[in-house]
């Protein structure tokens, strides 16, 4: 599908020196990096350090990325490792106060694996949505809104019979499930469920 190659295309263009393509990549995946830093509860300043390190690393790996569709996984894993480093470092730099230290240990030794996977899933949903037609995007956004727009409002806004909204919505959701972004997410993460896998990203960079 054309969209698998959209990320590939952006990676290739960036690797060959196209700064505009790089800027699009950064804008697209920055929410993923920031979601990972939030799961570690980093300060805004530390989050920015992590973000910059992730992108500095990526810019040197562009030419080595064999499977660009696995890029979200690579970004999330790199961000997670750098967050871990920040946390460990903060723990070391603190003056020795057993009480403070005990609190820190508690809040930081929980491995936010599920939070990282969720961040990747949300990135896949955003990427998947952008692969759909404007009309599919529209109906999904209207129903995803909190609170969701009623069928009546959607009928009015989209000029659609109320009776056809349900089936249209279901078809749009199925298209979203089938997008290359969602399929890539599932392919990368389904088999990892049991193993808690941390192995996939290593294969993506030479």
């Amino acid at each position: 599908m054309a969209e698998v190659s959209e990320v590939s295309w952006l990676v290739q263009r960036s690797a060959s020196g196209d700064e505009a393509a790089w800027n699009v990549l950064v804008r697209r995946y920055s929410p993923l990096v920031m979601a990972v830093t939030r799961s570690y509860r980093l300060t805004a300043e530390d989050a920015q350090d992590v973000s910059q390190t992730v992108w500095l690393r990526l810019v040197e790996q562009l030419a080595n990325l064999r499977k660009p569709e696995a890029l979200p996984g690579w970004i999330a894993t790199t961000a997670r490792r750098e967050c871990g480093r920040k946390i460990r470092q903060a723990r070391r730099m603190l003056p020795v106060d057993p009480q403070v230290d005990a609190t820190l240990q508690q809040s930081t030794t929980v491995e936010p694996d599920a939070a990282i996977l969720r961040a990747e899933l949300r990135q896949a949903l955003r990427d998947g949505l952008s692969e759909l037609s404007a009309r599919d995007q529209w109906i999904l956004q209207l129903r995803a809104a909190d609170p969701p727009k009623s069928y009546q409002e959607i009928s009015h806004l989209m000029g659609m019979r109320i009776g056809s909204i349900g089936p249209t919505l279901r078809r749009s959701l199925d298209k979203l499930r089938e997008t290359s972004a969602m399929q890539a997410y599932l392919a990368a993460n389904l088999s990892d469920e049991e193993t808690g896998g941390d192995h996939r990203e290593l294969a993506e960079v030479e």
């Binding site: 920031m34 910059q52 871990g84 730099m93 230290d101 949903l125 979203l176």
Partner: protein, 154 residues
């Protein structure tokens, strides 16, 4: 809560997660601009060998350090085919050693560019005062060859 890696999401679960996904889309422009600025570091000299951070070592390091508590330095090891660099970072600064031990010129580089240069002694030891927090890397010149470590957050 949606199960993050199940393909059997109901329509409602998927819509709720889509809403959350769209809500977290906005990122501070200053973060994006700093990230985009990384592009300036795209070109790596062809004759420069990249030394990779040893993540497996980081894990054992973490286990050890948990036992030794706060105040212990952070240890990082970077590997290449012909050179390794080991560094310890604490609140005072960075000390490191080239392996195999040998003299050389080591430059501390941040996202703003080279910060300071020092000589590694006959057994490859060198030191820097601690730079401001942020990404850093070490650029090592040995005889006529150059090696550069991956970026790490400090």
């Amino acid at each position: 809560m949606i199960i993050v890696s199940s393909p059997r999401w109901s329509d409602d679960e998927l819509l709720r997660e889509l809403d959350a996904a769209l809500q977290e889309e906005s990122v501070d422009e200053s973060v994006i601009r700093a990230a985009q600025g990384a592009f300036a570091w795209r070109t790596v000299d062809a004759d420069l060998e990249l030394l990779s951070l040893d993540e497996a070592f980081m894990l054992t390091d973490d286990v050890l350090v948990r036992g030794s508590g706060p105040g212990a330095p952070q240890r990082l090891v970077f590997h290449g085919e012909r050179l390794s660099v080991e560094v310890e970072i604490d609140e005072i600064g960075i000390v490191g050693q080239l392996t195999p031990p040998q003299p050389g010129e080591v430059t501390l580089v941040t996202a703003d560019g080279p910060q300071s240069t020092t000589q590694a002694d006959d057994v490859g030891c060198f030191a820097f005062p601690l730079p401001a927090s942020g990404p850093l890397r070490l650029d090592c010149k040995i005889s006529s060859e150059r090696f550069i470590t991956e970026w790490v957050t400090v």
